[in-house]
Amino acid sequence: MPLATLAGHDVHVDDEGFMTEYDEWTEDVARTLAANIGIELTDAHWKAINFMREDFKANGASPTIRRMTNAAGIPTKELFDLFPKKPAKKMAYIAGVPKPAGCV
C-alpha cells in the first residue's frame, strides 16, 4: 500500500490515491488533496466535506449525492458546481473516505 506525503504528513493511500486511514486526515491534507484536483476549498466546499466525514463516521459508509442533498441540505446542482462532473468521487477523495459503494 503506497504512502504519500501530503501537506507534510505521511498518509496511507490506495493505488488510485484515495486515503485509506480516516484518522490520518487533517484540514491541511484536505486542502492539498483538493489542490491536486484543481479545487480551492471555500466554506461551501467545507460544509460538504465535513458532512461527508461526519456521516461516514456515524454510518460507516460514504454518503451518496442523494444523501448529501437530503441529509446535509446541499442542493444537487450545487454539488455539481462545487465538485464538477464527479461530485461523489471528488468529495470522497478530499474528505479522505472511500468512494461511495452504493449504486444510487
Binding site: 503506497p2 490515491g17 442533498t69 444537487t76 462532473k85 449504486c103 444510487v104
Partner: protein, 178 residues
C-alpha cells in the same frame, strides 16, 4: 503488506483533462414499477461519472413523466414467471396474481424492498436525476396518442421530440432501450 513510498503523489484520474464526448441515451418504454428503475439507476450512475445523459420516454414509459401516473406505478407478478419472493426458487401460481389486491400487495412489497436499499421512489428519483443534469424528452407520438398537454407532464421535461429529432440528438450516444 509492503509499504512503498511514492516518489510523486498519486492523484486519481477524474477524467477532467480528457475532453470526453461520451454520452448515453436511455429509451424508457415501460411503465411498470419494476421496469421504471433500470434506466433511472443507470442514468444516475452515468451522471455521477460526468457523462451527458438523455432519457427518452415513449409509450408506457410516458407514465414516468405524466404527473397523474408517476406516483402510481405498479408491479404485478401476472405474466412474470421470474417473480419469486426473496432468493427463490418458489413462486406463487400465476392464477393468484389475478386476485383482487394482489397487484397492490406486490407493489407494496417491491416498494419496501427498494426503500430498504435507500433508493428513492420514482417521483423523487426523477427530480434528483434532472437536478444532476439529465435531459428528459417526451415522445411526440405518445404525447399525441395519449392526448397530453405540456401541463400534464413533469416540469422537468425538457421538450417533446419526434423520432427523427431523437435520432439526431442521440448521434454518437450509446443508446440503451429499456
Amino acid at each position: 503488506m509492503t509499504i512503498t513510498r511514492e516518489s510523486t503523489t498519486v492523484v486519481p484520474d477524474f477524467g477532467d483533462e480528457a475532453a470526453t464526448d461520451r454520452k448515453i441515451a436511455f429509451i424508457c418504454s415501460k411503465g411498470n414499477l419494476d421496469m421504471a428503475y433500470p434506466a433511472l439507476i443507470m442514468a444516475n450512475g452515468a451522471l455521477g461519472e460526468g457523462i451527458e445523459t438523455h432519457i427518452f420516454f415513449t409509450f408506457w414509459g410516458m407514465d414516468l413523466i405524466n404527473k397523474k401516473t408517476v406516483d402510481h406505478l405498479k408491479f404485478t407478478f401476472l405474466g412474470n414467471t421470474a417473480m419469486h419472493p426473496g432468493r427463490g426458487p418458489f413462486s406463487m401460481p400465476q392464477g393468484f396474481g389475478g386476485l383482487p389486491g394482489m397487484t397492490a400487495m406486490a407493489t407494496k412489497m417491491l416498494k419496501d424492498k427498494i426503500a430498504a436499499l435507500d433508493v428513492p421512489e420514482i417521483p423523487e428519483f426523477m427530480t434528483l436525476l434532472h437536478a444532476m443534469g439529465a435531459k428528459f424528452w417526451a415522445c411526440k407520438m405518445s404525447v399525441d396518442m395519449m392526448e397530453l398537454e405540456d401541463s400534464d407532464m413533469l416540469d422537468e421535461v425538457d421538450g417533446v421530440l419526434n423520432v427523427t429529432e431523437f435520432i439526431e440528438l442521440s448521434e454518437g450516444a450509446q443508446v440503451i432501450f429499456v
